[in-house]
Symmetry: C2
Subunit: 346 residues, 2 copies
């Protein structure tokens, strides 16, 4: 299998390197051939090529079996009036790959419950799979700007809603068969289209329980009753906000992976943390989210479920027994965590 890596900015290169090392160990142990090709995206691509997603990088990603990304962005490129921004590269890539379903699983590791801002009794049995629509909504709608006025259009078609919602219902069948659809149907027209589409699709899944929540209520319910939720499906911007909120429950953003999937088997895998410029280049970033993203890559793009489970078990071992990086109360470096996961994997 051919895997394109996009280390990107900030801590992206460090955590991506750790994840690649783990994939190489998988290849060795299970006798797979993985070839890796590194390409530029984000701020580093702007600096080197003047654009956040060079054509060569995009072409490589389109031909790959899967894409593993680190992070994009940083203060160097975040002037609101800059003509070109790192995030544009990521958004263009998501659109070009057609990865409309962004899967963000949330579990709270028992060894880390003390780090969560939530009380421990709230964290019992928390196991949520967020399915965030990733290629529509205000992220991709028409934008206008004059000196005096700015607009962003949020737009959804029935087909865009339907495909991601069906994915959520399908995923729920392998879990606890409960889908929560989040919208703002009491105010937004796109949310009313969303809700009526969900209602129609739910009829095809009589074995799955459906619940609707307004996004403001959901922001509260994720804190008061997090263990109630199984699969949570929502549009792009709401998903961005709710998944970061939920990530706080895990104790550190550095722990959580994501998979972005479309119709084919190619997918885009990235930890949900950002580029963390304050700690970049110091070999202290937590590579766990990147390593778990590599496990998702094995599962969803390469259909290597046993290999994915083996990585997850190794990560679980390290989270349980240490060592830990600084963000979760330890002193280990990025490369020490990589080595500990590799050792647990052998």
């Amino acid at each position: 299998a051919h895997i394109v890596t996009l280390p990107g900015d900030g801590v992206g290169p460090e955590v991506t390197a750790a994840a690649v090392a783990v994939l190489q160990a998988v290849a060795a142990r299970y006798s797979h051939e993985f070839s890796f090709e590194e390409q530029a995206i984000g701020g580093c691509a702007i600096d080197a090529f003047g654009e956040p997603l060079p054509a060569a990088a995009l072409a490589a990603c389109q031909q790959a079996d899967a894409v593993l990304l680190g992070a994009v962005g940083g203060p160097k490129w975040s002037d609101p009036n800059a003509p070109v921004r790192p995030e544009q590269g990521l958004l263009a890539l998501r659109a070009a790959l057609g990865v409309y379903a962004n899967l963000r699983p949330l579990q709270v590791h028992p060894a880390l419950a003390a780090l969560s801002p939530l009380k421990n009794e709230k964290l019992k049995n928390v196991d949520v799979l967020f399915v965030r629509e990733l290629t529509g909504g205000a992220y991709f709608g028409a934008k206008t700007r004059t000196a005096d006025t700015a607009t962003d259009e949020c737009k959804y078609t029935v087909a865009e809603v339907e495909r991601v919602v069906r994915r959520a219902f399908d995923l729920a069948r392998d879990r606890r068969r409960h889908v929560t659809s989040v919208d703002k149907a009491n105010v937004l027209e796109t949310s009313r289209l969303w809700r009526s589409t969900v209602q129609r699709i739910a009829a095809d899944y009589p074995d799955v329980k459906l619940e609707h929540q307004l996004v403001d209520s959901m922001a509260m319910l994720l804190l008061t009753q997090p263990s109630r939720y199984d699969v949570v499906v929502t549009e792009n911007l709401f998903g961005d906000i709710l998944t970061d909120e939920a990530a706080a429950l895990a104790g550190s953003l550095g722990l959580l992976p994501s998979a972005s999937l479309g119709e084919g088997s190619n997918g885009l895998y990235e930890p949900i943390h950002g580029s963390a410029p304050d700690i970049a280049g110091q070999n202290v970033a937590n590579p766990t989210g990147a390593i778990l993203s590599a496990a998702m890559l094995l599962r969803h793009s390469l259909q290597l479920e046993a290999e994915a489970v083996a990585i997850e078990a190794a990560v679980d071992h390290v989270l349980t027994h240490g060592p830990h990086t600084r963000d979760i109360g330890g002193q280990a470096s990025t490369t020490q965590i990589r080595d500990a996961v590799l050792a647990a994997f052998e």
Copy 2:
């Protein structure tokens, strides 16, 4: 002073009645003349008059010195395809009154920390004033809908951003002089206009510290570092989501008030909880948010600061010593809380 009450739907009438009783006690003790006029809004107005904001109600609100609202909405009127919805009445009222700045203070009462989903050490010194833009953004932008497609336009002008941001900076001067502006400037054009407007205005407030956060990060930071924040200013939809998230920290939505202010002294005051149809009509809803909204009404529309403080002290006494409603672990009724606050106020 002439106060229009809009009890609305669900528990709205019950909590509004409690707040009116407290305002009447203020009038008696401080020798003020308050006249009250009740009008219909929301679902009950749809049922009675076919529209969620009858002209008579709107006219009364426009002529009032202040407006006290309960809540609008409920399952009876929440079909996404209904031609008219309760929330339209509230949105039309906010627009007509020009109340562009929605103040939502968050404090966590020490006696209720055990009810918060957050660990107690996180809750120390939490004292945030959210200033939510209330009459712009996707709530009020152009909407379209066909069988296949829906759109919502989010639109902001510099003037709309400037007035609410100046209000936030002014409020910060009476507090800890720290403003956090929340946007999604790495993706949205309206957020870039928002951020550059905030940057320009900040120059007029060199004594106030300004910080920018992306809305996804802020959803996390409100949980991991809630005591860091003083005044948080943001656009309409982000404010809707973040204030409900933050409200969970207080232990119950039923505790929290809000004030919506424009250029004049007339304002719209409402608890941040919704209509809670599941407990409506049972005399069990927590009237604290409504009573504290009445205190904000005294402070912001009637300039009666001492009276506002006296109500807040009475509420504080009841929260500390009980009785408590069910949502915060007690068994008292709405009217018992009203009476307890009145007794503490005497």
